[in-house]
């Protein structure tokens, strides 16, 4: 009988880590780099994981901390992103009965990471408000507020007023979560 390494359980969470990472980085390659860094940290710090608690939440926490740590070093890029937001707001959205994939992708990517994170954790990965709040180390009200502000900002950027505007936006949403390269390969 072999002694299984408890850290082997990390492998089972790689798919969810990749999906969460994609929503933060907006780029598949960067997402896998982020997962790689987070896995190394988790492997080394595994003695700090409390057995019986939620391993996925613990891994997500390490991943998001790594992301924000990297982001702080790249803050200078925020000026360019503000320029993008101003340009997007000044343009009419592509409205040939559906949202343009590029518009949607750009709009989501222009949200602050905290709002993308809240939308992904609660809206996509199925975490409860409480789990998401614990993971982000903020009160539940903050998660709800980020979620609401993220939605409002999307409406504002995309000028969407009805659900009809969001019909058939799978391609756009795919781009949002997985990055444009993956979206191009699956959108047809």
């Amino acid at each position: 009988m072999t002694n299984a390494d408890p850290r082997d359980a990390i492998v089972d969470h790689l798919p969810n880590l990749r999906a969460f990472a994609c929503s933060l980085t907006q780029n598949s390659a960067d997402a896998d780099d982020l997962v790689q860094d987070a896995v190394i940290k988790a492997w080394r710090k595994f003695h700090l994981f409390e057995e019986g608690t939620n391993l996925q939440a613990w891994l997500f926490t390490i991943l998001r901390n790594t992301f924000y740590s990297d982001l702080r070093r790249l803050r200078r890029e925020s000026v360019g992103r503000l320029d993008d937001a101003a340009r997007l707001l000044s343009e009419k959205p592509q409205h040939d009965s559906r949202l343009g994939m590029r518009d949607f992708n750009r709009a989501f990517s222009l949200l602050p990471p905290e709002q993308r994170e809240a939308l992904t954790l609660v809206g996509a990965s199925g975490l409860t408000y409480e789990d998401a709040a614990n993971m982000c180390n903020v009160p539940i009200g903050t998660i709800k507020s980020r979620l609401n502000r993220g939605r409002a900002r999307l409406h504002e950027l995309l000028n969407t007023e009805t659900s009809a505007d969001l019909v058939s936006t799978d391609k756009a949403t795919l781009a949002v979560v997985t990055g444009s390269v993956t979206a191009r390969t699956t959108a047809s």
Binding site: P15, R18, T120, A124, T160, E161, S163, V167, T169, V176
Partner: protein, 52 residues
């Protein structure tokens, strides 16, 4: 239909799409580089030492 109803429907549609796409990403094959990394971490104790 009120503007609030419209916005709520739009939010629902948005969340449904996000969930569907998140699920698609989860169902993708994990790249070899990440599986290789795990194998490397298992094999090399030096890599697994906590530097702090």
């Amino acid at each position: 239909m009120s503007k609030e109803d419209d916005e709520a429907q739009a939010d629902d549609a948005f969340h449904q799409n996000l969930r569907r796409v998140y699920r698609k990403k989860v169902e993708e094959d994990v790249p070899d580089r990440l599986l290789d990394l795990i194998a490397q971490l298992r094999a090399d104790p030096e890599l697994t030492e906590d530097p702090e």
